[in-house]
Symmetry: C2
């Protein structure tokens, strides 16, 4: 059974107004009135209707999170899963509930759903079309973007410093003595994959590595399967070409590709060093454990919610672009 405030009020012998004041904690009520109302609330296990509250407050205390991604895994993507865990935790801490949606059509529909549900703010995750942002902008709903890409100077976004991470990876591997580099890079329309590759290339160039000592293979998707497929496809080139490094623009690609190497009895890291990017849980769990560039998804998720909260409260927000430092994690594969 579910009661409403009118019933609570009448059982407590007060008016709705008074009942509302004690339940919501706003406004005065005599100690006696307060006690009677609270007793009824307790006894009936009254749960105030948040929908009605939202109606008058013009605030739902819900935030919307949309993950744009064409293929599974989405929530079960090791990186996005961690990001969502962090977002849920942070949201809880600030009193928000989260409406979560995945959008495989990369359309404007999911944003419309959130708009209709009157979320207080919106977190847009991963690669999304420009028109989605343009659409959201028309409503004055606070929003921000995580791990996506945009050239729109208005959009507040959180990203990892992918270019720097790529360059660091190049420097680290070069420092180990490697001279011929093989790269499998994810979709270049995606900011992260693009910048990680660019950073890596530039890093190499700065170290004086000629372009002829670098081979880049582009992958249409950034998952385990494509990593494995491309490594298998280019196996002869890799082995015959004197390459001693496999760098990939994320861990899934690295792990997929490394499996092929191991299956074909290539010793990692003795014959070939393998390095990824992200630091998903399985990077450390693999054997050999994968050297990678860590993205601090936990902090990113927490900061995203904190920032959105500032936006919701109309507080000033310092900078549009929020970059998170990337850090090399040396493990067994290099």
């Amino acid at each position: 059974m579910t009661y409403n405030i009118k019933e609570i009020a009448s059982l407590a012998g007060v008016s709705k107004s008074t009942a509302s004041r004690v339940i919501s904690g706003n406004g005065y009520a005599s100690p006696e009135a307060r006690a009677r109302v609270l007793e009824v609330v307790e006894q009936l296990q009254y749960k105030p209707n948040a929908v009605a509250r939202a109606m008058v407050a013009k605030r739902t205390n819900n935030i919307g999170v949309i993950v744009f991604r064409e293929q599974q895994p989405i929530v079960s993507h090791p990186l996005y899963g961690k990001l969502i865990d962090a977002i849920l935790e942070a949201a809880e801490g600030l009193g928000y509930s989260v409406l979560l949606k995945t959008d495989r059509e990369m359309s404007v529909r999911s944003a419309d759903h959130m708009l209709e549900r009157r979320v207080d703010g919106l977190i847009l995750i991963s690669r999304l079309r420009k028109n989605v942002v343009d659409h959201v902008k028309k409503y004055n709903l606070p929003y921000l973007m995580v791990n996506g890409s945009t050239d729109d100077p208005d959009v507040i976004h959180l990203v990892s410093n992918d270019e720097e991470g790529g360059a660091k990876a190049a420097a680290y591997l070069h420092g180990l003595g490697h001279r011929r580099f093989f790269v499998i890079a994810g979709p270049q329309e995606h900011r992260s994959h693009h910048l990680r590759l660019e950073g890596f290339k530039q890093g190499l160039q700065r170290l004086g590595v000629p372009a002829s000592d670098l081979t880049v293979v582009l992958s249409p998707e950034s998952n385990l399967e494509q990593g494995a497929r491309l490594m298998a496809e280019h196996f002869e080139t890799f082995i015959g070409g004197g390459y001693t490094v496999l760098f990939t623009t994320n861990d899934m690609l690295a792990l997929g590709a490394m499996k092929v190497l191991l299956q074909r009895s290539v010793r990692v890291p003795e014959q070939a060093a393998v390095m990824g990017f992200d630091d998903i849980d399985f990077a450390a769990a693999y054997s050999p454990a994968l050297t990678t560039v860590k993205v601090d998804t936990n902090r990113m998720g927490h900061d995203a919610v904190a920032l959105l909260d500032r936006l919701i409260h109309q507080e000033e927000v310092l900078s549009k672009k929020n970059e998170f430092a990337s850090e090399i994690l040396i493990r067994e594969s290099t």
Copy 2:
């Protein structure tokens, strides 16, 4: 800017009632009125306020999903992540949005949040205390449990057939010629881990394997780290004891433990066969790929939402206990 129906109505030159009828699609409206309203809606990009709608419909079209788990990973748990992906997809298909919450305190608070927000139904995931179910039961909110455990005959729940899976694993490994079995089992308060172990034991017993040829080590948590820690701790026993099989009650434990075996140069499967349970994405990606018992999380998630939808529509629901067959996936580690 965001408009309300009154503004739409007045711009279209009709009453709120008429505007409402055409926008909601319920009730009559002349073609002319309809056209005028729709034009204004389109031009102003009007988004009806779902909060107000929910208020009168006494239905939010939101469902709540709570994952009960004391430790990270929660959403980023490979199994729960997949389950949530399936739930989101199925919910979307039936017109629901989902409010997602993780509960690490195993309390009743998260359920209360959902109750206050007036979700149409609730999906409770993983291990949860009896008092949570008892609490939810008091409100007449449709709910069901996925991958949890209960001895309450009223509770509609979806589980994998863990006992059968365990027995199948035993039979398969025994059939391969193995005679001494080492098991790392997750928390026995958790239904799945408990039944998987029971099924495995009983399977072995039926095959005439004496209890002395089975060693079981209990793990306080079911993650990679504990799998690795326990294997390292019992390594001497394992190697010195003539065991040729490592079976674990989930893939994370298996992968964590297998890494230790590989690091110490134990050849898998030649010297030791390793087998897990769940079929998370990384089971197939590991090298050697992990043989496991597959739980069809995708179907489980879809069925959970479909079932909840039936409950919400007060349709009859066939059986309280919905069991999903488990299936052995033979890969490289056995």
